[in-house]
């Protein structure tokens, strides 16, 4: 296509000729190579280049080739000449034949299988890349981001920004069968009833973009949405809280048959301590390090997360004893062995939070008896860096957090900022205590423990370790963990890493939130999960039932409008009468004929 030839076309479906072809191994090779260019946002290139043989050098080569291609062109231009990765081979990824993909990894990397299951390794046909590299495509918002080309169950049929996206069944889809394996609970819930049937079950998925929470919820309650937010797993929590708050709401939800299945999510929320901070952090001398550790441990005891999840039900979840949620190999969450010995004691087979006296003892040993500096008598004031809107709900959380610190005499100052200022502080290492969380990329303990790996320190190397925690023993174990397959050895390493983290307390382990979906009674095969993101292809809808219930739930009520109409007519008639009467009044206020 020549410049200007694209005209007003804003969708690939507006082009005369469409086409398809068989997926081949080269499409995967192309996708891996494509990570090497900075033209696209590829957050995982750093990790891939460590493992895929030759990818780092390939990145440098691509950068040089791209620079040659774009020589003399405006760097800010949206139109970029096609960067055809087929021209340059990559040692670590090849296709010996049409249906064989060979990826060569440096060393051992058990987590690679997870990356392969994610979008980062989705095949990219070179034709699609070449198509979108044509002049005018980017300006008319046509790219792989918006109009993906793949082999999935659905294809984009309509894209209206901020309003509506429509996916239609892909007629060339290979038809993956519905799973037959699951937990006993899945079977009991009827989630395996469609075992072996080809997916997807739904022909068209319509996404309506709702920006406001109130209409979103109302539409679900009225039955106009099958799922409030297909990509989220916390909607059900809010609906369940509504049920707890009101009997009439509970009755309505129960009568309508809404389903809110819950599970513990593979994510974690916690309050972190910046280990670079002189007061709460690691400390410079061994003596100071011991004192600061005791302070963090004292605060970890004082912050009562069991109470938090109880009084803030929208943040419902299970109090965490360590960095690893249940469901991961190596996690001992929910077991007696998994109890955090720093913050809890085991009584009658249950983990119970240590008494406040322990926290007070520790803060005194840290040099702040009753929350005051033993030398100067000055109160200990710590800063809680928080970003986000100060909603009334947040205000209650702040108040609760201040109360937790006050239990051992420590004053907590809330430093609410916007995201930019917070990130700036974090990069400079100027934060002190902060709220943070992690949603797993993949179900492996490594993906949580790397948040405490020293070389990943945020303020030093822009990694994901926001606490800037650094412990040589932990880091050494992490290096081992990365290479281990699931088994006793890995369990041992994980146990030791968790123990170190509990002892050092760079975080006060908060809670593992519940994932809970919200589904209509006519929607089947729905189960919340942050790992499985293609839930749409498993859904089955009873459309006759949907139409029937939508009609039943939304019968319009006209009588108030009729009443308002009658009142208006009466008002107009009265006004007309009053006006006529006034027009017939003489100067003495008498009505004349």
């Amino acid at each position: 296509m020549k410049p200007g030839e694209i005209g007003e076309r804003r969708s690939p479906l507006q082009f005369e000729r469409q086409g398809t072809r068989e997926l081949v191994a080269e499409d995967f090779v192309y996708a891996i190579k494509r990570h090497a260019t900075t033209r696209i946002t590829t957050p995982i290139y750093g990790i891939f280049s460590e493992y895929v043989i030759g990818l780092k050098a390939y990145g440098d080569l691509i950068k040089a080739e791209d620079a040659k291609l774009r020589q003399g062109l405006d760097p800010a231009s949206l139109d970029k000449p096609f960067l055809d990765f087929r021209r340059w081979p990559l040692a670590g990824a090849s296709a010996p034949d049409k249906h064989t993909l060979r990826i060569r990894i440096a060393g051992k990397y058990p987590q690679w299988k997870y990356w392969m299951a994610m979008t980062f390794l989705a095949p990219v046909p070179w034709e699609a890349d070449a198509f979108y590299a044509q002049p005018g495509m980017a300006a008319n918002a046509m790219s792989l981001d918006i109009w993906p080309v793949g082999t999935g169950p659905y294809m984009m049929a309509e894209y209206v920004q901020d309003r509506r996206h429509v996916l239609k069944r892909n007629p060339n889809y290979r038809g993956v069968a519905y799973p037959c394996e699951g937990t006993p609970a899945d079977r009991a819930a009827g989630l395996l009833a469609d075992c072996g049937k080809p997916t997807p079950f739904i022909d068209t998925l319509v996404f309506q973009i709702e920006k406001e929470a109130v209409p979103l919820k109302a539409k679900f309650r009225q039955g106009y949405l099958d799922v409030p937010q297909i990509e989220r797993t916390d909607d059900g929590v809010e609906f369940q809280v509504d049920m707890q708050d009101s009997e009439s709401v509970k009755r309505e939800y129960t009568e309508k048959g809404f389903k809110f299945p819950s599970t513990v999510d593979l994510s974690s929320w916690f309050v972190g301590f910046n280990m670079l901070d002189p007061v709460i952090g690691r400390g410079d001398t061994p003596e100071q390090q011991a004192k600061n550790r005791k302070m963090r441990q004292a605060l970890s005891i004082a912050i009562d997360w069991e109470e938090f999840v109880r009084i803030f039900p929208k943040k419902g979840g299970e109090p965490a004893m360590g960095p690893l949620p249940a469901g991961l190999f190596g996690s001992r969450h929910g077991t007696v062995e998994g109890a955090n010995p720093v913050t809890h004691v085991v009584q009658d087979g249950k983990a119970v939070r240590r008494p406040l006296a322990d926290a007070k003892r520790l803060i005194a040993e840290a040099g702040y008896p009753e929350g005051r500096d033993a030398r100067t008598g000055q109160p200990l004031v710590l800063n809680y860096d928080f970003y986000g809107q100060a909603t009334p709900e947040r205000k209650a959380e702040f108040d609760w957090m201040i109360k937790q610190f006050a239990k051992i005499g420590v004053q907590l100052e809330i430093r609410a900022t916007d995201n930019n200022q917070f990130q700036d502080k974090v990069r400079k290492g100027k934060h002190q205590i902060f709220w943070s969380g992690w949603l797993a990329d993949y179900p492996d303990a490594e993906n949580f423990l790397f948040l405490l790996y020293g070389p990943n320190a945020k303020s030093r190397s822009d990694g994901e370790n926001t606490s800037n925690y650094e412990n040589p023993a932990f880091d050494k174990l992490y290096a081992q963990l990365k290479l281990l397959d699931d088994g006793p050895e890995k369990q041992k390493v994980i146990d030791e890493m968790v123990r170190i983290a509990q002892e050092d307390a760079p975080w006060t382990f908060g809670y593992f939130p519940y994932a809970s979906g919200a589904y209509q009674p006519w929607l089947h095969n729905a189960k919340p999960s942050i790992m499985v993101r293609d839930t749409g292809r498993y859904y089955r809808v009873d459309s006759a039932e949907r139409a029937r219930l939508q009609g039943e739930w939304n019968r319009p009520v006209w009588w108030p409008m009729i009443l308002i109409g009658l009142v208006l007519i009466a008002g107009i008639a009265w006004g007309r009468h009053a006006f006529r009467r006034r027009e017939r009044l003489n100067a003495r206020g008498e009505v004349v004929a």
């Binding site: 957050p43 800010a76 980017a138 300006a139 918006i146 309003r163 309506q208 709702e210 994901e464 319009p556």
Partner: protein
């Protein structure tokens, strides 16, 4: 009149320059290009290389106001402020800062349709209903109807438009189920989605407008020409329609005209709450997404529309009152 218009346009250009500078300073006091890049790239594992690339591609890799690395006039012109300002005055809005938002000009043109669908009928209805309501109060002036009408107006103008939205959605969509709670469809299908926001927006503004118009009309009713009209035997509706309304047009034009820019730019609150993909919602999204390219474009367009509106209002004065001369 031509000289007057040319002069006003000249002032308008100065105002635009000032607004552009103020927008730029305010935006970049709160955000840095790196912040914008981080937010737009989003997600985990954002590298400095990605940030640098994002800045280069969007032209945010230069100094903001002064490029000390250049010579001569390039020190001023090879800056983000200069380049962005020049393109804006050439009406070349370029691309949005966020990856998927695309061409701003196209978005403005597309979204303006949705905004106009909401705002045009609202504008017309607002002028008509407010005028009729005010005339009715004036016709029944010094009666209980007038008193309670004014009380109603004060009550209506004291309530936040958010309250109208929340109560309106609750009553008409949730309880009575007469209108969709939110959403939008192009063409004639939009009517069912727009009825409720139009009605609520009308109610939200009716109190203030009607009370203002009533005061204007009352001022006119005490003048000699009105007494003369009545003495000639004209009925009260005739007096109000033919004399009072006509002579009170100037403040009405000013008040109604000042609303004109919103007809094109859309309503920030109503569009967001009712899911109407107009320009108001576009601005809200751009602000929350720190999309400077969209924010500055919309502020610029808003200023242009304000300036144009007030010139049109001035011209309309001469039509409403032949005694007015523009010089």
């Amino acid at each position: 009149m031509l000289a007057y218009i040319v002069r006003r346009i000249g002032y308008g250009v100065l105002v635009l320059l000032g607004v552009n500078l103020a927008t730029f300073i305010l935006f970049f006091t709160v955000n840095t290009p790196d912040d914008m890049a981080r937010l737009n790239i989003g997600g985990k594992r954002v590298t400095q290389e990605q940030i640098t690339k994002w800045r280069v591609e969007r032209g945010y890799d230069k100094p903001l106001y002064w490029n000390s690395g250049q010579q001569g006039s390039d020190q001023l012109t090879d800056t983000i402020f200069w380049e962005r300002s020049v393109s804006l005055f050439k009406l070349d809005f370029g691309r949005a800062d966020s990856e998927s938002a695309g061409d701003i000009g196209h978005q403005v043109a597309t979204r303006m349709v949705a905004s106009l669908q909401l705002a045009l009928p609202l504008f017309a209805l607002q002028v008509i209903v407010s005028t009729l309501f005010a005339l009715m109060l004036v016709m029944f002036r010094h009666t209980r109807l007038d008193f309670w009408g004014v009380v109603l107006c004060v009550l209506m103008l004291s309530i936040s438009s958010l309250f109208y939205i929340i109560v309106g959605q609750f009553v008409f969509s949730k309880m009575l189920r007469l209108a969709p709670i939110s959403g939008y469809a192009p063409g004639l299908d939009s009517v069912k989605f727009l009825l409720l926001p139009i009605a609520l927006s009308l109610l939200a503004r009716l109190g203030g407008e009607a009370r203002l118009y009533r005061a204007m009309f009352l001022e006119e009713t005490s003048k000699d020409y009105v007494r003369t009209a009545r003495a000639k035997g004209l009925s009260e509706p005739e007096v109000l329609r033919r004399h009072v309304l006509r002579n009170a047009l100037i403040p009405i034009i000013t008040s109604a005209g000042s609303y004109l820019p919103y007809v094109f730019l859309g309503s920030l609150v109503f569009e967001s709450f009712f899911g109407i993909p107009g320009l108001g919602a576009y601005v809200i999204d751009a602000i929350s997404g720190q999309d400077f390219a969209i924010v500055r474009t919309m502020v610029f367009l808003g200023s242009v529309l304000y300036i144009a509106t007030y010139i049109v209002i001035d011209i309309a004065y001469t039509w409403a009152d032949p005694r007015v001369r523009l010089a």
